[in-house]
């Protein structure tokens, strides 16, 4: 059960990994949602808890991608992605609630900054 994505030298293994840890792990909730759709409400405390855990987990991954990036992003100094995120969030909440423009603002800081540095 400790076998990772890269652990086996076989072409099929990564696909099995994706099927079990990706497809099954997500569609189980969707299928359950179909069966339970008339029994639970979105306001119930249990679902609020479950959603908090899910939101925190995704937020943790986002923070990791920003603070400890891999690949092409890793070349830039750490302050740059942080400044870019601040620009995007600042634009969205301070200037205009437009997701598209806010992403553009963040990207302008990141790409502009790494071209200048």
């Amino acid at each position: 059960m400790n076998t990772g994505f890269w652990s086996l030298d076989a072409t099929w293994w990564p696909y099995v990994f994706i099927l079990v840890a990706g497809w099954l792990a997500t569609d189980i909730w969707r299928f359950l949602g179909v069966f339970l759709s008339d029994r639970l409400t979105e306001e119930s405390e249990a679902l609020i808890f479950v959603r908090s855990v899910a939101t925190a987990l995704v937020a943790g991954v986002i923070a990791k991608l920003i603070v400890f990036p891999g690949g092409a992003l890793a070349a830039a100094p750490m302050a740059l992605p942080l400044a870019a995120v601040a620009a995007g969030m600042g634009f969205f909440w301070g200037v205009r609630r437009n997701l598209f423009l806010a992403i553009l603002a963040a990207e302008a800081v990141l790409v502009g900054g790494s071209l200048l540095l």
Binding site: S37, A56, G60, P81
Partner: protein, 247 residues
């Protein structure tokens, strides 16, 4: 059914299902799908950075079809996490699909809709398709909703399989600064849209605490950092919500 909903419902009787499928396909032309396409271009670049094959990336996108879960999966893959811990992290990260599916299904089903069709369509549910379904379906006659959503969802997935491949292939040929910008699309898109979608105290606290605890647990407990972040930050956020409600 039709007497309660009046003329709209009777109108629909005239239209064949394939008309609504085509309307669903046309529904792709709007802003949220465009943003999703740019996020998947970014995910393609991120997947390449992680060392995945194009085949892995495309299959993962079609099978998982939920960017947050895919980011968690990619995170686990790049950390070399074992399959059991990965299943736990991905399952935890996609719990939100349960309430999302549960809120769309009552809008979509008719007494005649086979369960297999609902299970198939439930696979399309992720943030973008969910928002579009909640926005558009209530205005459509009930019999039109399943064909509309089938047309919309299928097109959205196929379009994004192209987007993810484009991002993957582009990352190899563009300058490294642009490749970094593509990979950066995913975290930025999610951070801003999650902060915009966080309505309840619990959601906001979970977002803020998760952002802090993610890097901390990465340093303290790299093997199970995702699970710990979810459980600790999520529980704290829920306690904040309970405490605020009691006052």
């Amino acid at each position: 059914m039709s007497d309660r909903h009046g003329s709209v419902e009777e109108d629909a009787v005239e239209r064949p299902a394939r008309y609504w499928v085509l309307r669903g396909i046309a529904g792709i032309v709007s802003v949220p799908p465009l943003i999703l396409v740019s996020a998947f271009i970014g995910f393609g670049a991120l997947a390449r950075d992680t060392g995945l094959d194009l085949g892995h990336t495309v299959v993962m996108t079609g099978m998982v079809w939920a960017l947050p879960a895919q980011i968690v999966l990619i995170g686990a893959i790049s950390a070399g996490t074992g399959i059991a811990a990965t299943i736990a992290a991905v399952t935890l990260s996609s719990v939100r699909l349960l309430p999302m599916t549960m809120s769309v299904m009552p809008l979509m089903r008719t007494e005649k809709t086979p369960r297999a069709v609902l299970l198939w369509l439930s696979h399309y549910i992720a943030v973008t398709a969910w928002v579009e379904a909640m926005r558009k379906l209530p205005a459509l006659p009930r019999s039109a909703r399943v064909p509309y959503f089938a047309g919309f969802g299928t097109t959205l997935i196929l379009l994004n399989l192209c987007a993810v491949s484009t991002g993957y292939l582009m990352a190899a040929v563009v300058p490294p600064q642009i490749a970094a910008g593509l990979a950066f699309l995913t975290p930025v898109y999610f951070l801003i849209s999650l902060s915009a979608a966080a309505q309840l105290t619990a959601d906001r606290a979970a977002l803020a605490l998760g952002l802090v605890f993610g890097p901390v647990f990465h340093l303290v407990a790299p093997e199970f950092d995702l699970m710990w972040t979810g459980l600790v930050a999520g529980t704290l956020a829920f306690l904040v919500h309970r405490w605020r409600r009691r006052r």
